[in-house]
Symmetry: C2
Subunit: 469 residues, 2 copies
C-alpha cells in the first residue's frame, strides 16, 4: 500500500522516515503526540482524491492535518501507528480574489496570515483573526469552525464561508465552491463540513467573504463597578456605536493583578483600581468619524456613571499596551504552572450570575484554588480558569483540576451553555461532550457520520467515539 501511495504522490509526497514524520506527529504545544502510519502530502486535489479513494478501499484510517495549532488534539495521529496523516500544506494556492464580489478562493493549506495580506492588497479585509494566524491554515480553520478576536463583529469561520470544495471519505470530490451571497437550492451541504473536525471529509478549498478594510480603530480600557454593569455597557455600546463594535473583553481586577505581577513592565491601566475592566474596540472604514463617536459615547457613559473611569488609546502603541494586559494574562497563568483552562459560553445575559455562582462553588468546594475568569464577553465566551494552590503533588493536582472542571461544566449545563465555545471537541474534550449528548443528538450525529463516512475511516475517535458508539 505504501508503495502504491508513493507511486501516486512521489518522493516529496509521502514521508515514512521517523525523523521526517516527527513534526506531523504532535501539535504546537507538544503536549499531544502520536505515531503516524505515514504522512501524505498531496500536491493537488486530484492526487488527494485518489489517495483517499485508495485508503478507503483498503480501510486505512486517515487524519487530515493543517497547521498543528488545534487545541483539542483532532489532527494529532493516535499512538498506535495505524493512521495516515494527510497534510494539506502543499495545497497552498490562492486561486482568485474578486474585489467587486468581496470574495476570494483559497486552498486549504494557505496560512491564515497570507490571506490577510492578499485581501489587504485590494484594500479589503479577511476578518478571521487568531493568535495562531502565522501558522494555522484556512482548511483547518474551516474544519474546526475557528473563532478568534473578531467574532463579535464578523462571526466564526462558518459565517465567513461562501462555498467549499471537499474530498469525501470515498475519494470523490464535492464541488460546492460557489461565491454566491444567496443560494437556496437544497440542503446547505457546506455547513456539514464546517466544524466537522475532519470526520466527514477533507476541505481542500474555500470561497471566503471579504469586507472593506477597517482603516479606523478605537481602543479603550474602561473601569466598571461590576460584571452586571459590563453587560449593560455592552448593550449600550452595540446600540450607540451602531454595531461597529469589534471587541468587548471582560477582565475582573484579579486578572489585571495577575498580569501586572508577572509582567512588572506593564502599567496600571487606569489611575485607581476598578473591580472590573472592559477592553473595548470599535472599527470602521470610510467616512465615519469613529474617534468622535467613541468620545461622545464614553463621555455619556462617564456622566451617567455607567463607567467609573476610562482611557482611549491615542496611538497604536497605546492600544497595543491595553491588549497586552489581556494577552499576557495567558502567559502569566502559565507561569503559575498547570491549571484548568476552559472555553465555555453561556447566554450573555446570564454571565453575571454564572460568574457569581462559579466563584461561590469554588469557594465552597475548592477554597484553596484560585479562579481566574475573563473572556470575549460580547460572544458570551468565558475562560473560567482555575489555578491550584502551590505545593500539590501531581495526583492531588489532577483531582483538583478534574473537580474544578466538573463544577464549571455543571454550571454551564444549568445556564444552557456550551462546554466548548470555539476550541471544538477533537479527542481532548470528547469524554465530557459524549457524556452530555442526549439520545436524539447522538442518533443524529451518528446518522450523519454513517451517511457520509460509512467505513468510519475519516478521523476516527475524534468528536465521536472511534467505534461509532
Amino acid at each position: 500500500m505504501i508503495n502504491r501511495l508513493r507511486e501516486l504522490l512521489g518522493e516529496q509526497g509521502l514521508l515514512t522516515a521517523p525523523e521526517q514524520m516527527a513534526r506531523y506527529s504532535r501539535d504546537w504545544s507538544g503536549d499531544l503526540s502520536g505515531r503516524p502510519l505515514a504522512v501524505a502530502r498531496p500536491g493537488s486535489v486530484g492526487h488527494l482524491a485518489r489517495l483517499v479513494g485508495l485508503c478507503a478501499e483498503a480501510g486505512i484510517p486517515m487524519v487530515p492535518q493543517g497547521g498543528h495549532t488545534g487545541l483539542v488534539g483532532g489532527a494529532v495521529p493516535s499512538p498506535e501507528g495505524r493512521e495516515l496523516v494527510i497534510s494539506l500544506e502543499r495545497l497552498d494556492r490562492i486561486r482568485s480574489v474578486d474585489p467587486l464580489n468581496f470574495s476570494m478562493v483559497a486552498e486549504a493549506g494557505c496560512v491564515l496570515e497570507t490571506l490577510h495580506r492578499a485581501a489587504e492588497e485590494h484594500d479589503l479585509h479577511f476578518p478571521l483573526s487568531l493568535g495562531a494566524q502565522g501558522s494555522c491554515q484556512i482548511g483547518g480553520n474551516v474544519a474546526t469552525n475557528a473563532g478568534g478576536v473578531n467574532v463579535l463583529r464578523y462571526g466564526m469561520a462558518r459565517d465567513l464561508v461562501l462555498g467549499l470544495e471537499v474530498v469525501l471519505p470515498d475519494g470523490r470530490i464535492w464541488n460546492g465552491l460557489r461565491s454566491l451571497r444567496k443560494n437556496n437550492t437544497g440542503y446547505d451541504l457546506k455547513q456539514l463540513f464546517i466544524g466537522s473536525e475532519g470526520t466527514l471529509g477533507i476541505v481542500t478549498a474555500a470561497a471566503l467573504k471579504l469586507f472593506p478594510r477597517p482603516g479606523q480603530v478605537q481602543t479603550a480600557m474602561l473601569g466598571l463597578a461590576s460584571v452586571s454593569d459590563a453587560m449593560r455597557l455592552y448593550a449600550a455600546a452595540r446600540r450607540e456605536l451602531s454595531d461597529l463594535l469589534s471587541a468587548f473583553e471582560l477582565l475582573p481586577r484579579r486578572c489585571i493583578e495577575i498580569t501586572l505581577e508577572a509582567h512588572p513592565a506593564l502599567r496600571e491601566p487606569l489611575e485607581a483600581p476598578a473591580p472590573v475592566y472592559v477592553l473595548m474596540e470599535a472599527s470602521a472604514s470610510g467616512l465615519v468619524d469613529l474617534a468622535a463617536l467613541m468620545e461622545q459615547f464614553l463621555g455619556g457613559c462617564l456622566e451617567r456613571g455607567a463607567i467609573l473611569d476610562g482611557a482611549v488609546a491615542m496611538s497604536r502603541a497605546q492600544a497595543a499596551g491595553f491588549w497586552r494586559l489581556r494577552e499576557d494574562l495567558v502567559e502569566a497563568q502559565h507561569r503559575r504552572g498547570r491549571h484548568l483552562r476552559t472555553d465555555v459560553s453561556i447566554p450573555i445575559s446570564c454571565l453575571p450570575d454564572f460568574m457569581r455562582e462559579a466563584d461561590a462553588a469554588m469557594a465552597a468546594h475548592l477554597p484553596e484554588a484560585l479562579p481566574v475568569a475573563y473572556g470575549h464577553v460580547g460572544d458570551g465566551n468565558v475562560h473560567y480558569n482555575v489555578l491550584p494552590p502551590p505545593g500539590l503533588d501531581d495526583d492531588a493536582q489532577d483531582a483538583l483540576l478534574h473537580r474544578a472542571e466538573e463544577l464549571v461544566f455543571a454550571l454551564v449545563d444549568r445556564f444552557g451553555g456550551s462546554i466548548s465555545a470555539e476550541h471544538g471537541i477533537g479527542r481532548v474534550k470528547r469524554e465530557p461532550f459524549l457524556r452530555r449528548l442526549g439520545a436524539v443528538d447522538r442518533d443524529l450525529l451518528h446518522g450523519i457520520k454513517s451517511a457520509l463516512d460509512p467505513r468510519g475511516c475519516m478521523s476516527p475517535g475524534r468528536l465521536l467515539a472511534g467505534d461509532g458508539s
Copy 2:
C-alpha cells in the same frame, strides 16, 4: 387512524370537512392547490410529536405548513388526497425575549410581524423582512431559509438563527434551542433543518438573533450611466459607509418606464432620465450621524462622476415614494399578463456581463419578448424576467416562457450562479434543480434524507423526487 388523531388533537385540532380544509389546500396566490387527507393543527409540541410518531408508524406522508406564502409550492398538499397537512398556526407563543443577550425564542407559528413588534418593545430589531411579513410564519421562514429586503446587512434566515427545536420524522423532539453566540460542539445540526423545506423534520421553535433598532434610515435614488458603474458604486458605498448599507437595488431605465406607465400617479424620480437607477438605503442606530455621512458620500460620488444625479429622501413619505417605484414594478409586470419570473443569483462582479449576455441571448433567440431585469444587487440576486409579446395563444406563450427560462438558466450556470437565490425549490423548481444536480451532490442529499427520514414521510416530492430517485 383519523379517529386516533382526533382523539389526540381534539375537535379543534383536526379538520376533515372540505370547507374547513379549503384554506389549507392552496397557497396565497391560488395558483397552486391540492387535496389534504386531513389538516392537523396541534396545540402543543408534545401533541405534534405524538402525531408525527403515529403518522410515521402508519406510513402517512406529512406536509408541514406555515403562512401559505411560499413561492414554490412546498407546503401545498399533493392532489391525490394522501398527505396530512400539519399546520403550525396554533404554536404561536413568543417564549422569551432576552434584551441583554439580543435574542428571543419564538414558536413556529408566530407571524413574522408580531416578532418585529415584540423586538421593538425592547427597542430591538428582528431584521428578517419580506413582503409577506403580515402573514408568513417564522417556522416557515426558517424551514425555507427566507431572504427579503435586509439580506445585504443581516443575512438570510439562516444567519439569524441561534438554535432550533425540531420534531424529527420519527416523532422524537430534537432540542437544539440554545441562545448561544458560540457553540463548537459537534456537527451544527440546526443547519440541516434550516432551508430543508420540511423534508427533514418540523421546526417547532427558533432562538433568534436581535439587533439594536436602527433609528436612522437614509434612502436615496441615484441615476447612473451603466450597470458596471452600479457595481463600482456598491463597492464604494460598502467601504465609505462602513457596511451600514442595508439595501442596494438596481433598476435599469426600462423598469422605471414600465412602473410609471402602469402607475401614472408616480413621478419621474430624477430630473433627467438615466440609463440605470440605484435605490440605496443605509441605516444606523445611536450616535452615528447618518444623514451627514450619506450627504458626504453622495457629494463625493457626484463630484467624481460616479453618479449622474441623485435625490436623498427628506421624509419617510419621500422614501416610501422611492420604494414604490421598486415595489410597484412587480404589479406593473403582472398587469401585462403571464410572464417568466426568475430569482437567480450570480457573483456580484459578474452582474454586468450576465445582464448584457442575457439581453443579447433574448435579442437573438426571442426578439419579440421584453426582458425586465432588476434586483437586490448587493446580494447578487437578480430577477431576470421576460414578458411575452401581446396576442400569443397559450401554447405559444408556454413555449416562449420555457425557452426564455432555459436561456436565463444556461447563463446562470455559466457564471457559476444559482437558479433559486431565495425562493427555494419546493415542487415548482424541482425539475430544473434535479436536472442540474451532479452525482456527488445527489448522493449527499439522498444520504442525509435517508439518515433523517428513512421512511420518506416528510414532505415527499419536495426538493427531491418523491420516490427518492
